[in-house]
Symmetry: C2
Subunit: 347 residues, 2 copies
């Protein structure tokens, strides 16, 4: 087949939220791993092919939309930091990206999103049916690639991550419209839906390099904390960015009644009148055109965005701390910078 023959050169220059310094951080990390990222991109394109043309067409739509490919970069960089000198990490990084892409395709169906990374989402272009099925294909293909690699440890890590992601997404569904959700439960949601794959992506880097348990655990912890920080900032961005830089529809979370930390902080700090507003808009899903602006004003007043970013900074700090078991290296410094960058996306 070969519907997609190459990926845009600007792949790693995210079209998603970012700033010049942030892009420098990622560019530096990608620079350290040399040709690994290009090889991974080639593997992604080659392995998403199928005799059924709609599959690479739809997959190309979401893959070509760019994104930072942060997760596979983490796998590649962690493997190299651990001294890995082979090439198994290339395909395994592609697996990580396939699992991520599959969840994005299903998320967009679940969320009824129309924008993804600044472009029309796959479900908006190809329909929900195709998005569900191509997500299934990419998920299965990821497992085929892992089986070909042959490591049961890697299969264990990524199959567990896949189950945990789904659990986090279902838990998110269960907390939707429920202002009785507490921060611990919210953290459970984002640990599952986002941090589990970050953790697995990093851990696989140490496993492929055959490093001892203390290092696999450290990279798992780094990935978990990084993923939590990343999602906290994403949830802040949904109320604090403008659409052009966000690359998705602003206020999506609000319209869907999604329970995120900015909402929980503003609700907890609110007057009875404020709480009535939150109950009407989030719990009862009764919203008017002005409500998003009012929600953002209430958050401003409650310092909810800042509180969310402060929590993100705590987790970014914990992520950097987890790297301490590794000797100093350009990789370690760069992975630490990524943790800072994750938070700086909004500051």
């Amino acid at each position: 087949m070969g519907v997609v023959t190459s990926l845009p050169a600007s792949d790693l220059r995210s079209s998603a939220p970012g700033n010049a310094a942030g892009e420098d951080v990622l560019t530096r990390l990608v620079g350290l791993i040399g040709g690994d990222m290009a090889a991974c991109n080639q593997a992604i394109v080659a392995r998403m092919d199928s005799q059924v043309p709609l599959i690479p067409q739809l997959a190309a739509h979401i893959v070509a939309a760019g994104g930072k490919r942060l997760r596979p970069v983490l796998t590649l960089a962690c493997a190299r930091m651990c001294g890995y000198a082979g090439d198994r990490h290339i395909n395994l990084a592609a697996c990580v990206e396939f699992i991520h892409t599959a969840t994005l395709l299903h998320d967009d169906v679940v969320d009824e999103s129309v924008l993804r990374r600044g472009l029309a989402s796959a479900n908006a272009v190809f329909g929900n049916k195709a998005s569900v099925l191509v997500g299934d294909f990419l998920f299965a293909r990821a497992f085929q690639l892992m089986v070909a690699d042959g490591s049961l440890s890697v299969l264990e890590i990524l199959s567990r991550a896949a189950a945990t992601i789904a659990e986090g997404e279902v838990l998110q569904l269960a907390t939707q419209n429920d202002l009785g959700t507490d921060e611990a439960r919210y953290l459970d949601v984002i640990k599952g839906k986002t941090a589990a794959l970050f953790a697995a992506a990093c851990e696989v880097g140490a496993v492929v390099a055959d490093r001892p348990a203390v290092e696999t655990a450290a990279l798992r912890e780094y990935g978990t904390c990084l993923g939590i920080a990343f999602q906290l900032v994403d949830d802040a961005l949904d109320y604090a960015a403008d659409q052009a830089t966000l690359g998705k529809t602003v206020g999506d979370d609000f319209r869907e009644g999604k329970i995120t930390l900015p909402v929980l902080v503003a609700y907890a700090a609110g007057s009875e009148t404020d709480r009535q507003f939150w109950r009407r808009t989030i719990e009862d899903s009764e919203q008017t055109d002005q409500d998003l602006d009012h929600a953002m004003a209430l958050m401003q007043g409650a310092g909810a965005i800042q509180a969310t970013l402060d929590r993100a900074a705590e987790f970014a700090g914990a992520a950097k701390q987890a790297l301490a078991v590794f000797p100093p290296s350009a990789y370690r410094s760069s992975l630490a910078e990524v943790a800072d960058y994750t938070v700086s996306r909004l500051r």
Copy 2:
């Protein structure tokens, strides 16, 4: 957790289409495998559990709805026919059922179905979002179970099957509303969406018993042909059964403009007026309340249902033929009966 503590005793007495003789066939096969099916049902219930209550609730809805559990029965029976004396086949049969259940959940979202096995479909009760995500969970859980089993051969067979199922489903989407689809392409669709999992379910039985390639290939062929026959009869039933015995909405395929063999035969045999009818209803999706009856009358006139069943009987014959490499046994006889039963569901 433990939302589901037991499965109905009548599990294997299908609420789906069948006749007394057909149920006898399945009951006989289940009788041969002794306690294996009960052990498999226990594994299914235990392994679909999660700390997120909505997951076992939704999974229980579809699992408790019964169905014949034909695919796991095939894994269990094929393993025993191959002389396997251990218990690994129990969990692997559960994996097969999980993959099947995941595809059902996603199919019902894709098809916008409201009935499944005579009950409200999961998406109609729990919503599309939950159905997509719990499908993802069951799929991931299946891989976790396979990883715990530890056979890369089994992982290879079932990950390939999962990718092929998705490809078949996407190809079906691409042929929808397209009367230019030929029988070969239609067969590609059902080989993917249905026969691939039948084939894998049977092949795994020989692999777990560590049998030589000629036997794994024979069971793969048996499963492929059985699956094709099964789907051909399903496609005939959609135009030839009454809703009470079908356990799903009659005429779903017609309303969705799905291209199945009964339609292709009737279209090929039709007059120009008939073909205009098919183009309007299937290609242009313009249907009135009387159109399904007229479609069934045209099929009657063209012998389309009979032609479809004849094709199914051919594949059932090929399935039985594939069993010839095995020495005569009660298992072999019973698996041959299953092939006949598959076709007899409608005759």
